[in-house]
């Protein structure tokens, strides 16, 4: 598979462009921003985006997610020089943007109080990213809701549309703004840390949630070359597989992840020795990091592992797309940051992720995602000489 990336953009706590986010991850600073935007939220910090990302004023998680998606989509389309969509597919991943999280309306209704207007319920019905994104296309519109693999799956689905002859290019990505309901849910699951997260660290205490979005314009390679588009990199492989094991815990042997990574490598026609690094899912929960770390060590021995959530938080439905942008940007720049938050190897895992900013020279990198529901995704990226 050779799918060209001709446009990409991102918004996350580490930066508001691919380069600024990558180098933001390399700088040591206060990693949280702002205070919790909702007084009802339990006191677990998260990686917030500034209000300017939401048009100056936050509304609710559905509209805020839509605002993020619109912003990154516009930027990616502009970079790719794409105007009319034609029959291009629109494929976006999200969690908050598709969930029934209209708590304010529901609570008022349940208590017999009058429902405020405008309200979060009405916003939910007009904020489905794929259906409501302000682009005109007669192509497929898919809102992917695979929990934390949504963003990666959206990219893989877009690639498959192109490989099967559905259109010449596609707009894809992921977006999530954090609201009260998911914030409460993750806190109550006991997997959120009150401190800055520590991916793969022996003393990790859980994840930090984060807000973010990323969009990519993907194009059939021949189409991109024909129109002399700047090719930022290639997606050469995608793998996706289910653990079929548990709703919130990964398979102890990383069954689905092994399969997903193997599929992506096989489709790319490469092996571990060709891979510059892995951008791991690395949420900093006990379970995820143990299973993912062990699986990556077994499958890709000697390949450097980087986890970016120490500087972005876990952006849920956006994570796979955001990490795809960061992975490709790192390949482009030949520069891999240290893993923020990591300091001590966990002997249960035996994995030491990047501990210093590193120069990379190999052409390929992998990004992995794992999610509730048992989904696992892997994407392989290749640097191109056309930057």
């Amino acid at each position: 598979m050779n799918i060209a990336v001709t446009g990409m953009s991102c918004l996350c706590a580490a930066g508001s462009s691919p380069s600024s986010a990558l180098y933001g991850l390399a700088s040591v600073r206060n990693r949280f921003h702002g205070t919790l935007p909702d007084a009802r939220m339990l006191p677990y910090p998260f990686f917030m985006l500034p209000d300017s990302c939401f048009g100056g004023r936050r509304q609710d998680s559905a509209l805020d997610t839509m605002a993020l998606a619109s912003s990154v989509a516009k930027e990616a389309l502009k970079q790719a020089g794409m105007g009319k969509m034609g029959d291009a597919a629109v494929v976006f991943g999200t969690t908050a943007g598709s969930a029934l999280h209209f708590f304010t309306t529901y609570a008022a209704h349940k208590k017999g109080e009058s429902i405020p207007s405008p309200n979060d319920r009405d916003a939910y019905f007009v904020s489905n990213i794929a259906l409501n994104l302000d682009v005109e296309t007669s192509g497929p519109r898919l809102t992917v809701t695979d929990a934390c693999t949504s963003g990666a799956d959206a990219l893989g689905i877009a690639c498959d549309f192109l490989c099967s002859g559905q259109g010449e290019w596609a707009l894809c990505g992921g977006a999530d703004a954090i609201g009260f309901v998911p914030h409460t849910g993750f806190a109550r699951l006991g997997i959120v840390s009150k401190e800055a997260c520590k991916p793969f660290d022996r003393n990790r205490l859980g994840l930090n949630l984060g807000e973010g979005a990323a969009a990519l314009v993907l194009e059939r390679f021949e189409h991109a070359k024909k129109r002399h588009a700047p090719i930022l990199g290639l997606i050469t492989g995608f793998g996706q597989a289910s653990d079929a094991y548990h709703i919130t815990a990964p398979h102890p042997d990383g069954r689905g992840l092994r399969k997903a990574v193997s599929m992506a490598l096989s489709q790319s026609g490469i092996s571990a020795k060709d891979v510059a690094f892995v951008n791991a899912h690395g949420t900093a929960t006990r379970e995820n990091d143990r299973v993912e770390g062990r699986t990556l060590l077994a499958l890709l021995p000697g390949v450097p592992v980087w986890a970016s959530k120490g500087g972005t938080g876990h952006t849920l439905g956006a994570a796979g797309a955001l990490e795809a942008v960061l992975t490709l940007t790192a390949l482009q720049h030949g520069f891999l940051p240290k893993t923020l938050g990591f300091s001590e190897v966990d002997p249960e895992i035996g994995l030491e992720p990047t501990t210093r900013d590193t120069v990379i020279t190999k052409e390929y990198a992998i990004s992995t995602s794992l999610g509730f529901g048992g989904g696992n995704a892997a994407l392989v990226f290749k640097r191109t000489p056309y930057v």
């Binding site: 009802r40 339990l42 029959d87 969690t95 598709s98 969930a99 029934l100 999280h101 708590f103 309306t105 529901y106 609570a107 209704h109 349940k110 208590k111 319920r121 019905f125 007009v126 489905n128 794929a130 259906l131 296309t137 007669s138 192509g139 497929p140 519109r141 898919l142 809102t143 992917v144 809701t145 695979d146 929990a147 689905i157 498959d160 549309f161 490989c163 099967s164 002859g165 559905q166 009260f180 309901v181 409460t184 849910g185 993750f186 806190a187 109550r188 699951l189 996706q240 597989a241 289910s242 079929a244 709703i247 919130t248 069954r255 689905g256 399969k259 509730f372 529901g373 048992g374 989904g375």
Partner: protein
């Protein structure tokens, strides 16, 4: 117009719905005003009580319909490389509202973690894959009434790329009176609300089996149109027997596959999302094989 022209063939069907199963779909009897919920009692003879203990009704409907489709296709002995793509408009509504109830009633500090973990939109696909041992790709698409069309469009592309040989694609949505009271716009003034799950076993397109494809506009070319719930002139509207539900496009598709017709005839099944005004059309082309004898 976008017509993917990527087709997939159907080799198995399963339906668990307010109206009943595949046989009842064919009879097209009108639904009563307040129909009973779908009967999932058969699951207790197929899966252990312990296994089913924490499985919400939403996932029970999906699991049973998926099992029926898998059985008809003869896939039950090899699901390790089967993919599962599910379309759902609202996900597990009851568990979502249970979680919000737990916040309202007990406060955020005591909200139910179990309800939250079962409220994620992809819980249906996750539980079906877990219960049935499906280890291929696992994808959930959520875009109101066009969720099934979205899942099916990817299934066709997935098979078209050669990435896999088998896809179980379906639609599932449930009724919850709390949701209906809060969102009266999801009801129809003319037909009762309905719920259920419809599954299709798909393989790469072949001449001897019915074929499906999807396009995302309302251009239709088939001689016969199904457009349940849309009130579209010249189209068959099955709402009296299907009721009102986001899974209706999947039911139209299944009916098009099941009913007697001249081999080779095509039926276009039209879906529409009222919130965005978007359309999707599922084209059903009959090969020489008919599902009517299997219903």
């Amino acid at each position: 117009m976008c017509d993917t022209r990527v087709q997939a063939s159907v080799v198995g069907l399963g339906l668990v719905h307010t109206l009943g199963g595949c046989r009842q779909l064919l009879t097209r009897n009108p639904l009563p005003k307040s129909p009973p919920p779908p009967d999932c009692s058969r699951l207790t003879s197929l899966l252990s009580a312990k296994t089913l203990r924490r499985i919400p009704r939403y996932a029970r409907m999906a699991t049973l319909a998926a099992m029926d489709a898998i059985t008809q296709a003869g896939w039950q002995d090899d699901l390790a490389n089967t993919a599962l793509f599910l379309g759902t408009a609202y996900g597990s509504v009851a568990m979502n509202l249970d979680f919000m109830d737990s916040i309202v009633d007990n406060g955020a500090r005591l909200a139910s973690p179990t309800a939250f973990s079962h409220a994620v939109t992809n819980i249906g696909a996750g539980l079906v894959s877990m219960l049935l041992g499906i280890q291929g790709s696992l994808i959930t698409i959520s875009q109101f009434s066009l969720s099934f069309a979205g899942a099916l469009s990817y299934a066709c592309s997935y098979l078209g790329t050669g990435r896999g040989e088998r896809v179980l694609v379906g639609a599932v949505d449930e009724i919850d009176p709390r949701f209906t009271a809060l969102c009266p716009n999801i009801q129809s003034p003319s037909y009762p609300q309905s719920e259920g799950a419809a599954f299709f076993c798909l393989v790469p397109a072949r001449a001897d089996a019915p074929r499906l494809s999807v396009r995302f506009d309302k251009t239709c070319s088939a001689p016969l149109l199904f457009a349940t719930g849309l009130g579209m002139e010249g189209a068959v509207d099955n709402a009296a027997s299907f009721g009102h539900s986001p899974v209706n496009q999947a039911l139209d598709t299944m009916l098009a596959l099941l009913q007697e017709q001249t081999a080779g005839n095509a039926i276009d099944c039209i879906g529409w999302d009222a919130n965005s005004g978007r359309y999707a059309v599922v084209s059903v082309e009959r090969g020489c094989r008919s599902f009517s004898s299997m219903a």
